[in-house]
Amino acid sequence: MKNIKISIIALCILFTACKKDFLDRQPLAQISPDAFFRTESDLKLYTNSFYTVIPSAEGIYNEAVDNVVKSDLGELITGNRTVPISGGGWTWTELRKINYFLENYDNIMPAEAGKKYAAVARFFRAYFYFDKVSRFGDVPWYSKTIAFEDEEALSKARTPRAQVMDSVLADLDFAIANADEGKNVERVTKWTALALKSRICLFEGTFRKYHSEFSLPDADRFLREAVSASDQLMTTGPYSIYKSTPEKSYFDLFASKAAIDQEVILTRRFSNGLQVWHNLNYYTITASYGRPGLNKSLVNTYLMKDGSRFTDKPEFNKIQFYEEVQNRDPRLAQTIRTPGYTRIGNTKILVPEFNASTTGYQVIKYVTSEANDSFNKSDNDMPIFRMAEVLLNFAEAKAELGEATQPDIDKSVKLLRDRVAMPNLNIVAANANPDAYLAAQYRNVNGGNKGLILEVRRERRIELVMESLRWNDLMRWKEGHLNAEPYKGMYFPGLGKYDLDKNGTTDVEIYTGNKPTGPGVQFLKLGSEIILENNTSGGNVLVNPGTPKTFREDRDYLFPIPIQELQLNGNLVQNPNWEGKN
């Protein structure tokens, strides 16, 4: 019997040793919300998560639209757009993060202490909704996180655009009033909020003005808000236009390893040490990243150095490359390879390469030294907001309101012209003789200020190329048709040898039949490696002439809502003339 007794005793000990809470296991390495939002650094840590929406470097430099032409035109450019099943920009994860913060940040901390972080959150909410509204027009407004069971919220119809944008304005004003006032190029501050407000309000004001089909009110109110936000930043903000020598300052601003925070308000930093790189150098010099080249229509708009118009020259479209780029706005030679171009830290003179540039206007904006030439090895900072844009926003809003005075231009556009030693923009002269070339592009500009508005748009396109603002510009100006224009490149009178930099050696040879030979020459077979408007009779380089491009005025100013979302929420209505709603 002893064995049984021992066993029973052993069993009893064992069972009593089993604690009741054996199955109660709490997380060891993760934190639950009720243990958070306790200190200011908690709030800061949380608001850090919002910075994921700041565009990647590619989201900045990899602009296409009608500015930069690539070998692959993409659905957006060709107008060959379809309604996506899902995705398509209709993502809302960021909003959930933001709203969650706004609901919880003052659970423990006094609201006052958390205000500057709430300001950051509301900045990003404005940023979020601006993106949604600019893509889709009316979108449902949510100021709270949605519970999974909340069918009412999940099946909410769109909120009218006017209402959404007023809420965006409220968010921006809160952010401006409460965000940090210190200058910080990496973080959202009062100044960043002003810059965003300037951008958003100009967008909304001009959109409402030019898109009468949507019957939106208050265009002027938004333009005035754009003026006041820009003005506040210009007069009270700690920023100015970076200047060194006219031939370098524009280029240096973008090639600088560290953002020049004299002008740059918010930047996305890159770092070799942290192994955070982008692909800009490789993108501009390799064959398989689309071979970006500036569009001829943009190159044409750079003024002559004396302020006169290149497009006023007789037969300006038949001027060959070398002549074309002489005596132009110095920003041209700081945006593309022109004769005499050398890489940073190298004296070897380089010419444009067609195997890296579809149009021959090979871009150099942001390009750094050869050390960064490998795939994804560039480490210069990318500007997200810079003062030049704010000045242009100011000038444009004023011009659109019809309230621009020469002093307004002097404190905005002139500063950008001064940087590159270009003559100032004169309102009277501009309005007296609106540029016909620009007027043909921007068909919807009318009225007494037409000349000024066109000139401001010229300035904006040149100054802000490759900063990914162009798509929204065309949308708000209702000039989407510019996307559907044929994209062109350099002019060549026909077959033959060309010395692009007039240094006495052949750089490019366009041929048919057998490939010629010779050192250091780019041989381009007509019809396949290079296509000219009039074939052997020459003309401008054409990119993908066989690809039809369209822009539907009745449809393409807004993006379609994905089919799946319409199926999941019966109250969502598709944007006009996009299929997919049954």
Binding site: L11, N48, F148, R187, Q275
Partner: protein, 1096 residues
Amino acid sequence: MQLKITLFLKRFSRRLLLLLLGLSITSLGLAQVNTGGKVTGSINDEKGLPLVGVSVMAVNESTQLKKTTSSDSKGLFTFTDLPAGKGYSFIISYVGFRTQNLKNYEIKAGEQISLIVRMLEDQSDLNEVVVVGYGTQKKVNLTGAVATVNTKTLEDRPIANITQGLQGAVPNLNISFGDGRPGSDGKINVRGFTSINSGGSGGSPLVLVDGVPGSINNLNPKDVASISVLKDASSAAIYGARAAFGVVLVTTKNGKKGRTTISYSNNFGFTAPTTSTDFMTDAYDAAKMNDEAFIRAVGNSYTGYTDEDYAYLLRRRTDKSLPDYIIDNRKGKDQYVYYGDTDWWHTIFRDRQTSMDHTLSVSGGSENTDFLFSGRMYQKNGMMQINQDKYKSYNLRAKVNTKVNKWLTVGNNLQFNASNYDYPGWGVNANFVSVSVHALPSYLPMNPDGTATYRTELNNYTIGDGLFADLLHGKSKGNEKEYEFINLFNVNAHLAEGLELKGNYTYTFKPSSNWARRAQAPWSIYPGVISQFGFDQYYETNYTRQSHVVNIFGDYTKTLGKHTFKALLGYNQELNTYKRVFAQRNDLISQDLNDLDLGSGDVLANGNANEYALLGGFFRVNYDYEGRYLLEINGRYDGTSKFPPGSRFGFFPSISAGWRISQEKFFPLKGIVDELKFRGSYGSLGNQQEAAEYGYIPLLSRGTIDYITDGKKTEYLSSPTPISPNLTWERATSANFGVDAGFLDNRLTATFDYYVRNTFDMLTAGKTVSSVFGAASPKQNAADLQSKGWELALNWTQNGSLAGKPFNWNVGFGISDYTAEITRFDNPNNLLSNYYVGQQIGEIWGYRVGGFFQTDAEAQAYKVNQDYVNQQRLKAPGNWAKLSAGDIKFLDINGDGVVNNGKNTLTDHGDMEVIGNSLPRYSYGINAGFNWGNFDLSVMFQGIGKQQWYPGNNADKFWGPFSRPYYSFVDKDFLSDVWTPQNPNAYFPKLRGYEALNDRGELNVKNDKYLQDLAYIRLKNLTIGFSMPETLLKKIKLSKVRVYLSGENLFTFTKLRSNYIDPEQAAGDYNNSTADPNARVYPFSKLYSFGLDVSF
């Protein structure tokens, strides 16, 4: 809930107490003293070797006397005092041998009888004892679906781990490998895809080693005594919520009483690839093809070779005396221009690699103690040419059981397993991806001055991503280590006749670590100028896993006349902890030393930790009437920490019954059918294994973004992942119907099982929710799945003689199949982007293709708009963007004039149809063994009857330049497969790069023309052995000497249309969804080996 547990435990312990008390009354007293006769005997096996520990029972029917003893180390046994009388019989039984019943002996007082017993090995497996949950069961009495692996077939296989030997061994025990790296672990699955929530792996079974969760891949294969696979709910229900995906029970060997045996065995092997490695190495063809594919997609040449360069390549094709490079001024600089004909595959990888295996074991025992000590060393060299990768593993086991007294046995089973893998380059599988691009045959691996090549400067690409240059430099490398220390202490109390109480406690300590180093590597393109590429970084990750497992269970067996009862009651609890530490430093001050302390640059560190606990009580009752009617009831009440209080516990019962109709008096087929049993079972199982440790607690997510603030990557916390508050067990019910039959003196046995399994409340992302929700749909118990399948095993065993020597052979065939279908899923619009009700798991949606347009006119006249699936063509430059001859013609199935996927729903799926299914069907294994005299031969085939695969967009060895134009390893005869006007019936369309790579290219969209069938049959193993004759052995005083030749994966037949991809590799992990669909991983290999087994 807490109260419930306590109550349960109280009830449980009270019951056990009563049980124990009640039973003690019936326990027998000591044997009476009497004068009688003596019986002695010796027991030997067929070869005349003594058998130790054989149970001998003396029975006298008339006096109801029963006495048992067992044979000693010399195989002798004695009954000293049997009462005189007639009618004695002696029943001699031993596992693995036929039970003998010697009848009608008479014992006379004072006299002695001597018996000589020669035990015959039991050739039929019906009498075999099978390990089941918390016990054993005679195979004849099984009522559930339990299969066993014949571990003998594993013994001489030159395998790194057990899973490599289990493929094809048991029907519906599915083993798959993601890659063929040395020591590669197999993924185990029982009865196919049974849950959608496990990352598509379909669920992996509970693997218990000696009753405790363990890792089957870490074991020494020679330590394994038996492997049982519990397939249905009734056999697995005793493991309740742990067993939803089946259970694999591995039992290790024990020492045997008797003379100490020392065994040593070894194996030496070398491997070869299972696929062709004879890639295109013609420099001219490869460069031309590449440029052509590139120009047609992008508009300009890839290589940058001029016409003179091409002319040189063409000349050098026939005149190898021409130098394979020139130094030429290009773009104003003197540089190397390469005209090689490099075989990059064999520059970087080896075809032949060696392996070896040494195993030593010492086992034995005395009357009260048995022991086994074993050790193993396995080493396999890998296929990297420079700084060859090397896998090593070590196993140690020390197992001792001792009988403390009459009723108490204690034992300890300690094992230590270690493995180490060193590899060069950028990652075990990453090496195979990097080099698959940009290494053209015309490029040289090294410059004439011995420096590495990296870029040609004729374009901006990097040869093989620079892998070879890096390997040549030899500083980038990595290591993976795994240790496992497991100690199992067990107590076995024999409380009374038929009543046993067992307990064990196991502690597992399992640290593992890996580190990797990237270093900068030098290269050159301008003669005399050396540059560096890459970056310098070192990281190390350490994982620590621990577990504590306690099992206490008692069983009781009682026979009352024709009724036999068995009961089992037990308790189990487990605690598992996990911790991870990761640290990374940049810019080390040494190129050769690898340690965090050497870092001079940026620091990154992070970690993680979690734990979970399980506890449960279980029972089993068996009843059998005369061995004819069998009934078993199982149940388990299980709790887990992974669910919220209130839904932590689940009860998982099962019932099964068997009818051995062959035991009935009326059974008409006696003599032909020796054994016929019908089995049926129904039961339910739970699943918590896929649930997150803290899945019911909202937790803030944490991360780091590449957005830099204050000189660092930015750390953040963000909103909690939405959770569903009432998560609970996933529950599976399964009904199983089986037949076991034995024919012709049980020489032919057959087992067939059919099952229907319903998985309810699968814990998965719930319904597709509007994007405005802003997060992934929280995990819920939201879906049901039904799988149906069957398995059949046939075995033929024959003993005879041939040419005067014993000739035994056996052939086995196993086959299984299943299908699975979604029966509940919240997807009201039946979006094809999510699961939907009625969906067959594995179904492949795709388009139908009507061949190629043979003329431009035909293409232009085609009324159907197929732009949607021709995105790559539309991006092409100039005329290449036009639909023309050689392009694929897509069929407009729904007749709307446009080829597309409609709304991607079940009601509107455009022109897509289900064109195939990626689940493996008709998995089979065939094994056969022959013994003739001293020779033995075994063969094993394994294969799959049908499994469809659409090659991934980066499947370089399938698509060649149709994916990336610049792939390094292209089929030698690829060009003959490409459409040209002269080759109108080619397999592939007109050459154009990126068609397979980029979204909605004509080869990127799945279509029926390029859908592959991975069906294969593979000679998994062939072993020929020779054992030294006994007469010779006696002279050299050894008990066994055997030499053998053994080969793995010796040949393969497959329907897959590529000699360069192994079908198993393409199938990848179990159901293909977690595998690399591009088969760009460490390749599989075949292995030839020889070995030696010695025992003394």
